[in-house]
Symmetry: C2
Subunit: 353 residues, 2 copies
């Protein structure tokens, strides 16, 4: 997608170096970092310079490919590859896509001679990244049929291209609709506590020249009540096929309840790899409770341009910080995947044979 | 209520000076300011050193009493009183309680000789403040019957004693329940964009020693879904008797929809003076749209202790900032006023004869 008028992916391989947009600086500064080694790419994943399921997966694939490239030929080759894999898998241990990517790269090189393994590792990592982008593009193509000319689309958190390799999930239908010549206005809620809507989604939309407003999370329901929203699109961290529920950034459930109360279609967009066919119900999805300082402190740029945090609560108060919630299938109009648009009751049909 | 173990009101008269807690410094510093003249008290109201319907009303009554005290005996007396009234009424022109207070003080002194007028103005201003505190106390007595021992009570924004003269509206039942020996845990959402929950409600509760957590606005629905909330209590800026709806801080509607979805009782607590008997429906309540910078910038204390704002959105993005929303009566379990607990359908019966 576009940044300052030029097309970018979130992460890519240049020779044997990984390059990525440093997302910790967004939206205040746009900077590409170059990571010449597996160790440095792994560190960048740990430091959350890249975030979002698809983007982490692609970065992990590239990182392990770097590990294979760096492994010395001879007896030390496979131990070095194993070590690289352990390093990459230790960066964000709860990110499923990360393991999907390292497994794929590891399987692709298994039993090969070092030279072939190096070539194959790079090819497989590239395939992972390209597939992610292709899946997201297809989500956009399917989803854009839901967006009429002049639509006002609401979204929560950042499920745009910054969370993937390109295009994004929830925002991909918007990007495709705009390419089809439709006029679209986006309401991006700020998404406390980490503010991905205010910082990342608005930045993406700004770079693409798509009209939008940021709103406080509290305002989405009222905008819906006033019929100022036509459609809501969100992403998902995990989808439970058994009951059609979706775990996503905290607040998604609130928005879905409000959409239902106002008869506004509410769609979850994600690659089908996000669907979990083994869970009995969404209630079984473990919910991370993160550090309370994310609630007490807000990061931003001060009037002199420096990054700085400010405390918004009295010293000594406690906060709770549930990172995700689970939206039941009864509140979800449909799921948009690279394979099409599906009703919550039909997800089991997508199970791989 | 208690601050550092000592009882305080938000505003009071000491001799001919108004004293008030400077709420612009909360929760980071507790400071009483002394306002020796009508002009200075009016300025403090304009500067939002005091905020909240009841507190503004009391401050306005005291300010006009100061104006009467300062007016020179003789021909200049009534013109000076008129001027003081205009000054006070110009401070926050949309605050209804402000006009209620100035009207009451003006009516009390009408036609009196200057000396009597001075005495009467102070008495009436004191009566306004005392009534506000008494009404809030009674709200607490009625509302505390809804709170069982061990209850987890959720609230939105600040409808505590800082918004009134004492006790508050939504928090008054909590304070009374605790005085009755019940154990209560409060979930205060931070209430973006201005953060009154994180800053003021949590500070009040901390000073009273009541266990509580701050949560992001996005998390309330999920806590309800997990049955971690037993009851929600909020305040109101205006209640429409005709349809039992309530205008309150943006986000109230979202919380009410979530409470309904989870079968959690949702009460609106406010003095009966907040009820509007003339409006045909809540949809007729005008909704203020405030400056977008309240969304783009967050104020707080930096790591060096200085007050500072940080920008959370990219430069140049736009935001919308609807200050209030309207919660329909179908989502409200009941209203708690100084007169008792009322169903949304029964509010017209409270109309003064």
């Amino acid at each position: 997608m576009l940044v300052q008028g030029k097309p970018y992916r979130t992460v890519w391989l240049q020779g044997s170096s990984v390059q990525m947009i440093d997302q910790t600086l967004l939206p205040h500064a746009f900077q590409i970092i170059t990571l010449p080694s597996c160790r440095e790419t792994a560190q960048a994943i740990t430091d959350m310079r890249i975030r979002g399921a698809g983007a982490i997966g692609a970065a992990a694939g590239y990182a392990l490919a770097q590990g294979v490239l760096e492994a010395p030929a001879g007896a030390g080759f496979w131990p070095a590859v194993q070590q690289a894999r352990a390093l990459v898998e230790g960066t964000r241990p709860t990110a499923r896509n990360l393991f999907y990517a390292t497994e794929r790269v590891a399987a692709a090189v298994q039993g090969l001679a070092p030279e072939q393994a190096r070539e194959q590792a790079v090819q497989e990592a590239q395939a992972i990244a390209d597939e992610d982008a292709a899946f997201c593009k297809r989500i956009g193509e399917h989803g854009s049929s839901l967006i009429r000319d002049g639509a006002r689309v609401a979204t929560h958190c950042n499920a745009g291209w910054l969370a993937f390799v390109d295009f994004g999930s929830a925002l991909s239908p918007v990007y495709q609709a705009v390419r089809q010549g439709k006029r679209v206005h986006v309401y991006a809620d700020e998404t406390r506590p980490r503010g991905q809507g205010a910082s990342l989604t608005s930045w993406e939309l700004q770079q693409e020249g798509i009209p939008h407003h940021i709103i406080p999370d509290n305002a989405m329901g009222f905008l819906m009540q006033r019929k100022e929203v036509d459609l809501m699109l969100v992403g998902a961290d995990r989808i439970c096929a058994a009951d059609g529920s979706a775990a996503n950034k905290i607040g998604t459930y609130e928005k879905a309840v409000c959409a239902k109360d106002n008869g506004i279609p509410f769609y979850v967009a994600a690659p089908s790899t996000t669907i979990d066919f083994s869970l009995p119900s969404g209630a079984a999805i473990p919910i991370e409770e993160r550090h309370e300082d994310e609630v007490h402190f807000v990061w931003g740029r001060d009037d002199q341009g420096a990054f700085r945090r400010v405390r918004i609560s009295p010293a000594g108060t406690r906060a709770r910080n549930l990172a995700f919630d689970v939206t039941p299938g009864r509140l979800i109009t449909g799921f948009i995947t690279e394979r099409g648009i599906h009703k919550p009751d039909d997800l089991m049909q997508l199970r791989p044979r």
